[in-house]
Symmetry: C2
Subunit: 467 residues, 2 copies
């Protein structure tokens, strides 16, 4: 079957041998796009090996993007992954793959916060789109509720309950154009008179927003337990922005005691907390997290997004906003951009209510976990003991500290020259020079080949081009 | 045929008699939803009358929302227009109709800026949606260009050329979340140090935005030639916001000499002009207008939207932005809400590129023109010589001055009690007490019955409840 012969004496695992052979067939179009792979039972019987070995091989192919799996159906060969032109051997697989990837110049996309679009359930989404959008009433196509499409707000509240154990009043759920807009509206709505406090390091989207809006702010360092609450100081801040579920960019989970300290301080000094939970749907170990929001729902604005779980281009995020800020929030939104468009809101609502989201997040968690392990493997192989992986197992990126590493703009430029998009952590440091030895490796939009090759190349560049 | 008998001696026009009879059949479900009306030839032959009389009757039914017409096909009975419950006679037709209208409590919706959603070409749109969205590449579903989806930006540039004669560089076209966001971004991007100048009266969305952003502004009165440029004063403004194609809310077109004065002043004092062309696609007479933008493309930010031509809930608008402001605009957008979602952008692009937009605007112009005439008729019937219609024949609303009228919050409240949503012009006046004798009548979302009944009721309320 497929002319697969296994070499049982080879150091290469049987599953890897099967994967390699099938990938070759795909690259040379011997197995054309759309074709189904044999069932695991069938191929395992034919090769006289354990079925789990075949499953493993298929999952490798899937993780690498060569085959798709649509909810229980057979694995099928993806479109656009075959090689064209002369020569089908050599270093081509990764190139062939990345030809279908958005960033044309980028072969190794280690950007943070970019989900895997290859494994998005297009089929289910498409069927849903056909059915769902027909149910829209003309009235839904005029100006709607500034707060968002009512059924979506309800769906988000239910989703927060089953995915995070959060009890949320639907009235407090506000749909936004992604987490970016939610954080911006939150900052403008809740801020008091003092400087805003952000974590250091912090996502540049937040600090740039504060600069643009001419809102004074200062960074407070984080350690492995989260923001150093003791360093917030004696002056009451205008508000505090934190990422307790997965510190951006370092990746730590904020400890329970640090959470308690922060909320206590917020009550004492009377400031508000913005909790940005941008990607904690994907958690690869440890007990489920309870949001900071649960500690004080009257003082915390909780921000979430579907950009990572679904697709960034949908621009659907949300905030859970305490009642005292509803009027200000609504006013600001009304006169800024009015509301989200309706199509995406209906689709996300159906995706949630049909529980397709639950299944999708489960599938993607499995995939991202594997990719994350691949990244860690590749880093250990390339850098050995010089590399230390930071943070907890969650989200779409990890931070790696490299002994004696010095990653600045110049390093990023060198990487781009080699078709690698990677962000040094120093870019997000408010105190210049901090975290210069840390690289951020997003794994949402890379496949196995790109991970291995890209990190090998990163190591070469980090060692001054030798290696 | 349909048991229609005509009374040739009646003062009621034959076309109106046919219209009334068919409406009755629809209301009582004798003609159920989806059924086609007989062809005009057929019915005209049967009744031995001119075919144009039948056409007129059908167009009345169409204008009233009882039948739909889908691009050349036969007129068919609309869904949800039949009466339920006891009694099918009496004052019910308008009620039956408005049951399918968004604002549940509002029977007579004279709000400005609301398009007719009943006549949106859902069929064509739906077919397009099925075909078009499948062509999206995975990369289109990640974060895209902050400026907007490139093919849409090209389509908008071409649309501006064929609909407005504007020569626009694609690089200058920025997609936005409706005109609201476009105006907001423009104000923040181009403003100089002085107070911003707006027309008085002015759309409340703009003045509220300026207040929220704590940007100083002052109103400069308009007359029938547009903004009183001579009243802008000697201090250079931080920028000027105008609606030259259809002054909001009074409806005048800015005269050529006033345009020249404004641009000359802008050059002398070195300020920027924001031209909000929110609904001039619909023009019912007079020569086509050239935008202010054409007089100085380096100094005018031109703002347009598809909220009125298509649907508000798509949230697709755009601005044509001179090069010197590109960087600031892009920064602001990137850190505010990143970009528009992609689905609507692709749909609008296809709608434009397939020239469906051209046809749609033509159809809707015919419809709105008729509705506008109905409003004017109804106003004249109800108010007689006490009413004066202001402004030029364009857009989705008109302003009416009523002799000795005094329309304030209390009047609006009274109207809402009677299920009428109507906005007194005074609401938009910056100088309190001005324009208190003017009512704004939007006709996008009302049908013939609602126009006649609603305006009769308005007259009654305006006369202190008598009448």
């Amino acid at each position: 079957m497929f002319g697969i012969t296994l070499d049982r004496k080879s150091p290469v695992a049987l599953s890897r041998q099967i994967c390699n052979r099938i990938r070759e067939l795909i690259l040379t179009s011997a197995l054309p796009a759309g074709d189904a792979l044999p069932s695991t039972r069938e191929l395992a019987g034919h090769l006289a090996i354990a079925r789990s070995t075949v499953t493993e091989a298929y999952e490798m192919l899937w993780a690498e993007g060569y085959v798709s799996s649509r909810q229980g159906a057979r694995y099928r060969v993806q479109d656009g992954v075959e090689l064209h032109g002369v020569g089908t051997t050599g270093g081509a697989p990764a190139d062939a793959k990345t030809h279908s990837v958005p960033q044309k110049r980028i072969r190794y996309d280690f950007r943070t916060g970019i989900p895997d679009v290859e494994h998005f359930p297009y089929g289910a989404w498409e069927r849903m789109r056909r059915n769902v959008l027909d149910t829209l009433k003309p009235g839904d196509l005029l100006y709607g509720d500034v707060k968002g499409y009512e059924p979506l707000r309800r769906a988000v509240a239910r989703w927060l309950l089953r995915s995070r154990g959060m009890h949320v009043d639907v009235d407090n759920v506000f749909v936004t154009s992604g987490a970016t807009q939610a954080v911006g509206l939150a900052v403008e709505t809740v801020r008091g008179s003092g400087d805003f406090v952000v974590e250091d390091p912090c996502h540049i989207g937040v600090t740039q927003f504060l600069r643009l809006r001419k809102i004074g702010f200062r960074g407070v360092p984080v350690d492995e337990h989260g923001i150093r609450v003791d360093r917030i100081g004696k002056r009451s801040p205008g508000g505090v922005y934190v990422t307790p579920s997965h510190q951006f960019p370092l990746g730590h989970v904020m400890s329970a005691s640090r959470r308690a300290q922060l909320v206590t301080l917020a009550r004492t000094m009377d400031f508000c907390i913005i909790e940005d939970d941008y990607d904690s749907e994907f958690r690869y170990g440890g007990p489920p997290l309870s949001p900071l929001y649960a500690l004080d729902p009257e003082r915390v604005v909780y921000v979430g997004t579907f950009s990572k779980t679904l697709l960034p281009a949908l621009r659907v995020g949300f905030a859970v906003v305490p009642g005292r800020w509803h009027a200000a929030w609504t006013d600001l939104r009304r006169y800024t951009d009015v509301q989200n468009p309706v199509l995406e809101q209906v689709l996300v609502q159906e995706f949630l209510d049909q529980r397709k989201m639950d299944r999708h997040v489960k599938t993607m968690t499995r995939l991202y976990k594997r990719k994350r392990e691949m990244v860690i493997d590749a880093v250990e192989t390339a850098f050995g003991g010089a590399a230390e992986v930071l943070g907890d197992g969650a989200g779409l990126h990890l931070a790696v500290r490299i002994e004696n590493g010095k990653f600045g703009k110049e390093f990023r430029r060198l990487c781009l020259e080699k078709s690698i998009s990677v962000m040094p952590c120093g870019r997000y440091a408010l105190e210049p020079g901090r975290h210069d030895d840390i690289l951020l490796l997003g794994y949402g939009n890379v496949d196995a080949e790109a991970i291995h090759k890209g990190i090998r190349e990163l190591h070469r560049l980090a060692s001054g081009g030798k290696g």
